[in-house]
Each structure stands twice: as structure tokens, then as C-alpha cells.
Amino acid sequence: MTKEELVLLHKTMLQIRHFEHEVAKAFLAGRIPGFLHSSVGQEAVAVGVCSALREDDYVVSTHRGHGHVLAKGADLKAMMAEIYGKVTGCCKGKGGSMHIADFDRGIVGANGIVGGGIPIANGVALAAKKRKNGQVVACFFGDGASNQGTFHEALNLASIWDLPVVFVAENNMYGMGTSQRRHQKVENIADRAAAYKIPGAVVDGNDVLAVREATLAACDRARRGEGPTLLECKTYRHYGHFVGDPGLYREPGELEAWMERDPLILFRRYLEKQGVPAAALDELEAQVIEEVREAVDFAHRSDEPAEETALEDVYAPTEAGRRAIW
């Protein structure tokens, strides 16, 4: 990668980081309705995976999906406005934090149901395989979702049909408040790949370049028609399950240890070692902060949706669809 490309990875991670911080701030101040799952701490997974994808590839995301969606190229303003529940949001205020999607950028959707997106990723990949256009689907899910039946059903199907999916198990060590060692006996989710006779790999999810390399290899395999890969990225969520989660289930010192392995700190250190001046990185960060602030302003100033729009988009506007609302 060129130095510019490396800096771009850092920029996207910064965007996610500051986006999430601003969203959390607004949420705690009561400006955002609903609830919020923050991906702070997991930026290297989102950026590492998405940087390895082609523009016409797809991602299927989770309830902790802001990072995936931003890394795949969603518009900051439309996303922020969606989380604010505004009409200018990418889903017109009907999806919110847990259901952000942007089909134009290959983002099939975040998902409020743990493990709910995994079977859907197969379908998108099946269409790509039928059309022989070389597209790949990156399917994100957490360690918690790896215990859902959909995980098993979908990996088995993807395996027997050699579907072009990269199953990205984003192992942040907790399914809600239950630690991984309490919810499964295997140490590595990737070990489960053996059950489907597909490759499984474990990478440091806080190392953006390691994630990127592993994803590139999995994508190559998928594009060659050889089928799916189960890629496990070990990482950690700084905010806990949701913003406002006191995190009482954590081991003493656990958060602090992970903070030292913050993916942004690690990658900044790497970039400086590669000769990127600290001042340039500071400037980049200031620029990202400004962009995010503009997105917040945009969301804040945007209108709430008109009430009658709640009745729209239930069905596609076919004759039957129009008559199905009564």
C-alpha cells in the first residue's frame, strides 16, 4: 500500500471513532431516541475488512453496525440524520441506529436481530454467484451470534454451495453481558470452520492491516469460486453493550488493558514509524472532527419526518402493495 492509502485507512477509523463519540454524546444528552450500540474499539475490523472489498461488493451488518457502514462508504450526514430520526436520514428516519442501510453502496443493512443477517448474506452471495460477476459479501456478526442457529444453518449452506461470503466473526469477547468463556467452550470461533470444511482464521482485530490481509485472502478465494471463509477478528468494545452500560461484568483491569491496544493508537504509531509526520495526522484528525461536526449540525437542523410518511414504504407501490394498507 502507498502511504496515502495507509493514511486513508487511518482517516476512516478516525471517522468512525469521532462519529461514535458524537453520537454517544448526543444520546446521553437526550438528543437521540432509542438506544445505541457503539463500535468504538472495533474500528480496525470494519476498516480492515471493507478496505479489502471492491466498491460493488456487499456488506451485511449487525446491531453494532455504524463502523461497517461508514467503512463501506455511507454518507456521514445521511447516517447521522438517520440516527437522529430525521427525514433526511438514509432510511427517512424509519430505521435508526440498528437498521442503517445504503443499497447504493452495497450496504444490505444492519440488523436488530442477533444472527439475523447471516442467512441473508448467503442470498446476496447466491445472486452474485448466479450472475458470475465476481462480487463478494462480507457478513459481520459477533461472538454472541455465533451461538445462534442461523450461524450454523448459513455456514453449512454457504459451504455446500461454495458461496462467495467472508463470514467475519467480530469477537468482542461479550454477547451482551455474558463473556465468551461463559457462552461457548471453544476458544476460537474460527475453530468452528472445521465443522463446515471451510478455512477458518484468527486475526488480531485491532490490527487494521492484519484484518485487511486476511480479508483479501478470503475474498480471493471467494472470487475464485472456492467458497466461504470464517474469519475471526478478536477485538473489544470500549463502551460496553450499549451506550450507558456500566459494564459491571468486566474483569478488573480488562478495559484498561484493551485501551492500551486501542486500534487507532496502534495504527498511528505504525504510521509515524513509516514516516508520516505527527502534525499531518493531527491535522487529519482535526479535519475529521470538523466533518463529523458538520454531520451533527446537518442532523440537528433537519426536519422530523411528517407523520403520514409512517404509512409509506411498507410495501413496494404495486397495485397489490397499495391495496395492502388499510
Binding site: K94, V108, G109, A121, L126, E153, Y315, A316, R323, A324
Partner: protein
């Protein structure tokens, strides 16, 4: 006109749509090489090959997920769930994903997805292979629900369902697969949301679905001998519902009996009754009667199954009640 069975009607509709549109494919358990547990898809695997007629493992959530994911990017899949009872296994994919994806994305996604599945009792298949679960589905905004009775309706409505740009659950009736009826050669499509008057009559409106249409017709034939003329309205699609046809009939007869095989409580009949009470109260000359299954799981014993499910004599009794 030639006569074919409902099974053949489904197969013809599938074959014609597979020929017409290369984005159409079938996906389900043993629908290909085996020919389908009800032999509905027999021969299609040989004709169209394993890439269009896709056999899956026994994984209902994976089937619906694969179908809806493919639909979201423009394919036109037809998934089969072997028995409607099995939608419990994939209800998240149907109710939380397929039904809501368009809405949650503010209308950005179109899901041209059809889910075919047989329901109904009558074969002593007991509690997990005999249900009528349409109420679960009509209660879920985002889905269209079709429930045909005759071979003619089955073929025309299935073709419409496959061409529809919204998720459709198409509920066949396992007891009707061998039922014959006139079906013209050549192409026709029946628009979703249009009821059909299966028998005209002046005295009582009987709204009946699926196999109950035949029971209602038998009841009407017997009642006609005593001078009571029933009008049998077959809604054919439950969502969208042809309210106008029902209201028009009630305006003429002043009496309503609703018949369905699903349990009475919280069923489709309650919805029809509420609509008629709200919109045609002044026309009603008698309280509405519902003829439905009793509110129990489906028993295995043929005697018990018959006792639980609506029979012709129950419909006759209900009609006599509303006639006073």
C-alpha cells in the same frame, strides 16, 4: 375446458414463470431431485437443472434468508417451506427480516420474494403438520398473503405472486393437491386482492377460505334444497383483502358467516367480522357467525381431528342460526 389438479396448477405456474424470467429460481427441501414431498415440483429439476431448482439442507431459516437476500439484489426466488407449520423455524427471517426490510430502509429495497407452503388438516398429520397459520402472517405488515382454493385460482394467483414486487406467502392446501378443476390452456394471471364469488345467493354471505370453500359449497347445495340461498365469497388473497366484494355481498344478503380452518381465536374471521361491523353495520340483520377450528392444537386421531375442524354440518348450522 381441460381439468387439472391444484398440484398440476402449481407446477404449471412455476414452469411458466421459470421459462419466462431467468431471475426466477426455486429453493427448498427435496424440491429437486426428489420431486417435492407433495410431488408438486416433480420433473422441474430434470427440466431446469439444479441451479434453477435448488435443493437445500433441512434449514428453513437458511432457505428464507437465501431467498430474501437474493430477492434484495434483484432475483425473483420462490422458496418452498414443506409444511406451513415449519415457518416457526424461520419466522424471524419472514416476519422480522423479509416483512420489514423495505420499511426499515425507507423504501430502498424491493423484495420480489414468494414463499409457497402447504397448510391444512384432514390427513391425521397431527399438531405439527396440519395447521392453518395465516393469522400469524396477516398480522405482520409487509407481507402479502394468498390462500387459493381452486386449480384455476391457484395457477393464476401463483403467477401473479411470482411477478409481484413484494414478499408473498402463498398458502396451498395439502388436501386440495388432488382436487381437479377447469384451467384453460395458455397464459393468464389473476391479480392479487380480488375476491371471487364462488356461488351467488340472496340470503346469506359465506366468506370461506382455502378448502373451506368446498365445504361451504356443499353446505350451500344442501341449504338450497330448503330454499336458503348462500352467496359464497372466496377472498383468495387475505392481504390485500377485497373488502368491497365482501361488503357488497353483505349489503345484498344482510347476513354473514365466516368459515376458516384455523382456530377461531384471533383468526382471519375476526378481522372480516370487524370490518363488516364497522363498515356495513346497518345492513346486518343478524349477529355474525364464525365457523372455525376449536382453540386447541390439532389432534392425531381422525375422529378427534374431524371434531376439532369445521365440517359441512357446522356451516349449515351457522347459516340456519343467522337465518333465525
Amino acid at each position: 375446458m381441460r381439468e387439472i389438479t391444484c398440484r398440476e396448477a402449481v407446477r404449471e405456474a412455476l414452469r411458466e414463470e421459470l421459462q419466462r424470467d431467468e431471475d426466477v429460481f426455486l429453493i427448498g427441501e427435496d424440491i429437486g431431485f426428489y420431486g417435492g414431498t407433495n410431488k408438486v415440483t416433480e420433473g422441474l429439476w430434470q427440466e431446469f437443472g439444479p441451479e434453477r431448482i435448488m435443493d437445500t439442507p433441512i434449514s428453513e431459516a437458511a432457505i428464507i434468508g437465501a431467498a430474501l437476500g437474493a430477492a434484495a439484489v434483484g432475483m425473483r426466488p420462490v422458496a418452498e417451506i414443506m409444511f406451513v407449520d415449519f415457518i416457526g423455524v424461520c419466522m424471524d427471517q419472514i416476519a422480522n427480516q423479509a416483512a420489514k426490510l423495505r420499511y426499515m430502509t425507507g423504501g430502498k429495497v424491493t423484495l420480489p420474494l414468494t414463499i409457497r407452503t402447504p397448510g391444512g388438516a384432514g390427513r391425521s398429520a397431527a399438531a405439527q403438520h396440519s395447521q392453518s397459520l395465516e393469522a400469524w402472517l396477516i398480522h405482520t405488515p409487509g407481507l402479502l398473503v394468498v390462500m387459493p382454493s381452486t386449480p384455476y385460482d391457484t395457477k393464476g394467483l401463483l403467477k401473479a405472486a411470482i411477478r409481484e414486487d413484494n414478499p408473498v406467502v402463498f398458502i396451498e392446501n395439502k388436501m386440495l393437491y388432488n382436487t381437479k378443476g377447469p384451467v384453460p390452456e395458455g397464459e393468464y394471471v389473476i391479480p392479487l386482492g380480488k375476491a371471487d364469488i364462488k356461488r351467488e345467493g340472496r340470503d346469506v354471505t359465506v366468506v370461506a377460505t382455502s378448502r373451506m370453500v368446498y365445504f361451504a359449497l356443499e353446505a350451500a347445495a344442501q341449504l338450497a334444497a330448503e330454499g336458503i340461498e348462500c352467496e359464497i365469497v372466496d377472498p383468495r388473497t387475505l392481504v390485500p383483502l377485497d373488502k368491497e366484494a365482501i361488503l357488497e355481498s353483505v349489503a345484498k344478503t344482510g347476513r354473514l358467516v365466516v368459515v376458516h380452518e384455523a382456530p377461531e381465536r384471533g383468526g382471519f374471521g375476526a378481522e372480516v367480522a370487524a370490518i363488516v361491523v364497522n363498515e356495513a353495520f346497518d345492513y346486518l340483520d343478524a349477529p355474525i357467525q364464525r365457523v372455525c377450528s376449536k382453540n386447541t392444537p390439532m389432534p392425531f386421531s381422525p375422529r378427534l381431528e374431524r371434531f376439532i375442524t369445521p365440517q359441512v354440518e357446522d356451516i349449515i348450522a351457522a347459516v340456519r342460526t343467522v337465518m333465525g
